[in-house]
C-alpha cells in the first residue's frame, strides 16, 4: 500500500506562513456569534477576510433600509454605499467610520491575528447618538421617499455612541481572536500530526528497504553456497569414481594376482574411497535439498515394497554384525503418495544408522501403520476433531536395541555432520549426514521425524508421512 496523504507543507507550519482566517473558522459558528451580537445590541455585524471573502453576515435589514430600497434611486444609492463599505480599508489605525446618506454609520475595523491583518469587521448601520433629525440627503436620494414615513422608520434604527460601538467592537474582536487562535491551533495540530505520521512512515520505509536489501543479499549468498557445494561435490566425485573403479579391479585381480599385503592396502584404498564417495553423495544430496533443486517424482507408493527392499538391501550388513532385521507391515496398508526412491533412501539411512549403533545380538525393527493425524505439536490442536480424519498419517517406526540417544541430543542429531559423541565417528564410522538428509527428505514429503526412547534400551525413529502426499508447493520443486 502506498501512503497517500494530502501534501502538508511542514515548512509553512514551522516557519512563518500567513494564516488565512478562511481556513481557521467554522463559518456557521461565526455567523451564529454575529447574530447573537445583533440580537444583543441591535446593530448588524459582518466579517470579511483580507481577501474579501464574507465569513459571517448577521445583518438583518433595518426597516428604513428596506423602505429606501423600494425606490429605484434609493436602491442604487444603497447598493453603492454597501459596496463602498465592503471595499473600505480600515486604514493605518485599523478603525474608520463610513457614513450613509440615511445618516446611519458603519464602523470598519481591522481584524488582526498573530500581528498581522487577517480581515475586517463591519459594524452597522447604526445611527450616531447625536443625530436626531432625518438628514436631507435621505429624502434627496429619490423623490419617491416620503418624509413622514422615513421619519417614522428613522426612529426605529438603533442608536449608539461612538464609545459604545468601540467597546462592542473591541469585545467582538477579542472573541474573534480566541476563535482564530483555537482554529489555528487545531489546524497546526492536525497538520503536524499528519506530517509526523508521514515522517515516521518515511523513516520506516527507509529501514524496511534496507532490511529487504540485506535479506536479498543473504538469500543470494545462501544460494551461492548451495551451488558451490553442489559443484564441488560433483567435481570431487568424478575422479573418485576412477579411484574406486581401478582399486576394485585390482582387488578382483583383473591386473594380476597380488600379494596379501598389497591386496589389503588396495582394499583399504577401495574402502576409504567408497566412504569418501558416500560422504560426497550425501553432501550433494544435502546441497540439492537445501537449494531446492531436488526433483521429487510423486506417485502412489506401496510402503510394504519400499521397506522390504530396504530390509533385503541391509540384510548382508546386518548379518555380518550379528544383528537381526525385522519387518512388521500390515498387508492391507494403503498406498501413500510420495517419491519411492527418496523414501527408500530415508529408511536405508535410518536402518543403516540403527545397525551402526546396535551391538551384536541386538535387533533392528521396522513397523508401519496408518494413524489419524494427531496434534504432535500441542499448539496445533484447533479443530482437530474435524481436521484429524483428513490428515491420515503413515507412521513408520525404526527401532533398535543400540546405545540410545540422550533426550538432550535428540533434536541435534538431524543437524548436518552432528554425532552424539564425536568419538563415535571413529568408532562407528559414517559421515554424520545420513540423518540430516532423512529429515530433509521427510520434510519434502510434508512429514516429520522424531526420536523416542526404546525401552529397555535403544532408540526409535518415528517417521510420519501424510498419506495424501507432500503439500503442492513441495511437489512442484524442480
Amino acid at each position: 500500500m502506498t501512503f497517500e496523504a494530502p501534501q502538508v507543507a511542514v515548512a509553512d507550519l514551522v516557519l512563518d506562513a500567513r494564516v488565512r482566517v478562511e481556513d481557521l473558522v467554522e463559518r456557521e459558528a461565526l455567523e451564529e456569534l454575529c447574530r447573537s451580537f445583533q440580537t444583543l445590541f441591535g446593530i448588524p455585524v459582518r466579517i470579511y477576510s483580507t481577501e474579501g471573502a464574507r465569513l459571517a453576515d448577521a445583518a438583518g435589514e433595518h426597516e428604513l433600509c428596506a423602505y429606501v430600497n423600494t425606490t429605484p434611486d434609493g436602491q442604487r444609492a444603497c447598493e453603492a454605499i454597501v459596496g463602498a463599505v465592503r471595499a473600505r480599508d480600515p486604514g493605518e489605525d485599523g478603525d474608520v467610520t463610513h457614513t450613509c446618506f440615511t445618516g446611519a454609520a458603519y464602523r470598519i475595523l481591522a481584524l488582526e491575528y498573530d500581528g498581522r491583518r487577517v480581515g475586517r469587521l463591519i459594524v452597522g448601520p447604526f445611527l450616531p447618538a447625536s443625530l436626531t433629525e432625518v438628514p436631507a440627503t435621505l429624502t434627496a436620494v429619490d423623490p419617491g421617499i416620503l418624509k413622514e414615513r422615513a421619519t417614522a422608520l428613522f426612529a426605529k434604527v438603533p442608536r449608539a455612541k461612538a464609545e459604545t460601538v468601540t467597546r462592542i467592537a473591541g469585545h467582538l474582536k477579542s472573541a474573534l481572536d480566541l476563535i482564530f487562535f483555537a482554529g489555528h491551533k487545531a489546524q497546526v495540530t492536525s497538520k503536524m500530526h499528519l506530517a509526523s505520521v508521514r515522517e515516521s512512515y518515511r523513516q520506516l520505509e527507509d529501514k524496511t528497504a534496507r532490511l529487504q536489501e540485506a535479506l536479498d543479499r543473504m538469500r543470494e549468498l545462501d544460494r551461492l553456497k548451495s551451488t558451490f557445494l553442489a559443484t564441488v561435490s560433483h567435481e570431487l566425485r568424478t575422479p573418485l569414481t576412477s579411484i574406486i573403479g581401478y582399486s576394485e579391479m585390482l582387488v578382483q585381480g583383473m591386473a594380476g594376482e597380488m600379494q596379501a599385503d598389497q591386496l589389503e592396502f588396495v582394499k583399504t584404498i577401495y574402502d576409504k574411497g567408497a566412504q569418501l564417495l558416500s560422504l560426497i553423495t550425501g553432501l550433494l544430496d544435502l546441497g540439492k535439498l537445501e537449494s531446492g533443486t531436488m526433483r521429487m517424482i510423486v506417485r502412489p507408493v506401496r510402503m510394504q515394497s519400499v521397506l522390504a527392499e530396504v530390509s533385503s538391501t541391509m540384510a548382508p550388513t546386518a548379518r555380518k554384525k550379528g544383528v537381526s532385521v525385522e519387518l512388521d507391515v500390515p498387508a492391507d496398508l494403503p498406498e501413500l503418495r510420495g517419491d519411492a526412491e527418496r523414501l527408500r533412501q530415508v529408511f536405508l539411512n535410518l536402518v543403516e544408522n540403527a545397525l551402526k549403533f546396535t551391538p551384536a545380538g541386538g535387533s533392528v525393527r521396522m513397523s508401519a501403520r496408518l494413524v489419524d493425524g494427531d496434534a504432535s505439536d500441542p499448539e496445533d490442536d484447533e479443530g482437530l476433531a474435524l481436521l484429524a480424519p483428513t490428515r491420515r498419517l503413515l507412521e513408520v517406526r525404526v527401532s533398535d536395541t543400540g546405545i540410545g540417544i540422550p533426550p538432550a541430543e535428540r533434536a541435534k542429531v538431524f543437524d548436518p555432520f552432528y554425532q552424539v559423541d564425536s568419538s563415535s565417528t571413529r568408532q562407528y564410522g559414517g559421515t554424520g549426514l545420513g540423518l540430516s538428509i532423512v529429515k530433509r527428505l521427510v520434510s519434502a514429503h510434508g512429514g516429520t521425524v522424531r526420536i523416542e526412547e526404546h525401552v529397555p534400551r535403544g532408540t526409535v525413529f518415528v517417521v510420519s508421512l501424510p498419506q495424501q502426499g507432500p503439500p503442492p508447493q513441495t511437489e512442484t520443486h524442480g
Binding site: 511542514v10 497546526v188 500530526h193
Partner: protein, 246 residues
C-alpha cells in the same frame, strides 16, 4: 530565516531543544509571563493529558522597527518553539527543527540526567545533519536548568565544563523564572549577530545592529539591563562566539 519585503517582515525561528522534562515548555511559559502582550502573541501549547509536549509549543513575538522611532516600519517576527523531548517523538523533533535560526539547548542539571542530556544533544546533532545543517553553523546556547534542585552538578563543575565548551552556558531555575530571559536574550543576541552579519538585517530595519536587543526588551516590556543579562553566561564568550562563526 525568511525575509518578506512585500509584507515588510523578517521572520526568525528559535528552537528550544533538550531531553524530556528538562523544562523547555516552562522556559516559554516564563517568557510569556514576563513579557507584555503588546508584542507577544498567545502561547500555543500542544500537549497531552500528562502535560508532556506532544508536537511543540510556540510563542510568537513581533517587534516593529517603528518609523516614528526612525525605523523602516518593518517587523521582526520571532517564533520561539520547543520540541517534544520524549524519545518516541523523533520525527516531530526533526520537523520542528527545520529552518531553525538558533537553538537553546535546555539541559537538566541533575547528575542523574547527565546521560539524557548527552543523548538529546547527539540527537540534535544527528537531526541537524539530516536536515543538511551542522552545529558549527548554528548559534547555540546551553541552559543548565533546575539549579534549585538537590543532587545537581555544582556551579564550579558547570563553570569548568562551560569553559571547555564552545557554547555560552546559562544557569537557570526556570520554574522560578531565574535565568530564562538571560538564556533567551543570549540566544537572540547570537542569532541576530550572525544573521545580521550575513544579511544586513539591521539596515533593512533601519537601525543600528546593537539597537535590536534594547528595542526587543522595550517592546516586550522587560525592564532589565541587557548587558547584565548577557554577561550572566559562563564560558563560550558571546562576542568571540558570534564573530568566529558568523
Amino acid at each position: 530565516m525568511q525575509i518578506n519585503f512585500g509584507g515588510r517582515e523578517i521572520a526568525l525561528k528559535l528552537v528550544y531543544y533538550g531531553p524530556a522534562l528538562s523544562g523547555k515548555t516552562t522556559n516559554l511559559r516564563v517568557i510569556h509571563q514576563l513579557t507584555s502582550d503588546g508584542s507577544r502573541g498567545r502561547l500555543m501549547t500542544l500537549e497531552t493529558k500528562d502535560d508532556r509536549t506532544l508536537f511543540f509549543d510556540m510563542l510568537p513575538l513581533t517587534l516593529r522597527a517603528e518609523q516614528r522611532a526612525g525605523g523602516s516600519g518593518m517587523s521582526l517576527r520571532i517564533k520561539v518553539f520547543t520540541v517534544p523531548g520524549q524519545v518516541l517523538h523523533a520525527s516531530t523533533r526533526r520537523l520542528v527543527l527545520q529552518g531553525a535560526d538558533g537553538v537553546a539547548f535546555i539541559a537538566d542539571s541533575q547528575i542523574s540526567e547527565t546521560e539524557h542530556n548527552a543523548a538529546s544533544f547527539l540527537d540534535l546533532r544527528q537531526n541537524l545533519i539530516e536536515l543538511g545543517l551542522s552545529l558549527k553553523q548554528l548559534p547555540v546556547v546551553i541552559q543548565f536548568n533546575k539549579r534549585d534542585l538537590d543532587k545537581v552538578r555544582s556551579d564550579d563543575e558547570l563553570d569548568l565544563l562551560a569553559s571547555r565548551g564552545r557554547e555560552p552556558v546559562f544557569k537557570a531555575a526556570a520554574v522560578s523564572g531565574k535565568g530564562v530571559l538571560e538564556t533567551f536574550f543570549g540566544l537572540l543576541y547570537l542569532t541576530w549577530t550572525k544573521l545580521d552579519g550575513q544579511h544586513g538585517l539591521a539596515k533593512m530595519l533601519g537601525m543600528e545592529s546593537g539597537a535590536l536587543l534594547p528595542m526587543a526588551a522595550r517592546q516586550l516590556g522587560i525592564n532589565a539591563d541587557i548587558s547584565a543579562l548577557l554577561s550572566s553566561c559562563v564560558g563560550g564568550n558571546l562576542d568571540r562566539h558570534s564573530r568566529v562563526h558568523s
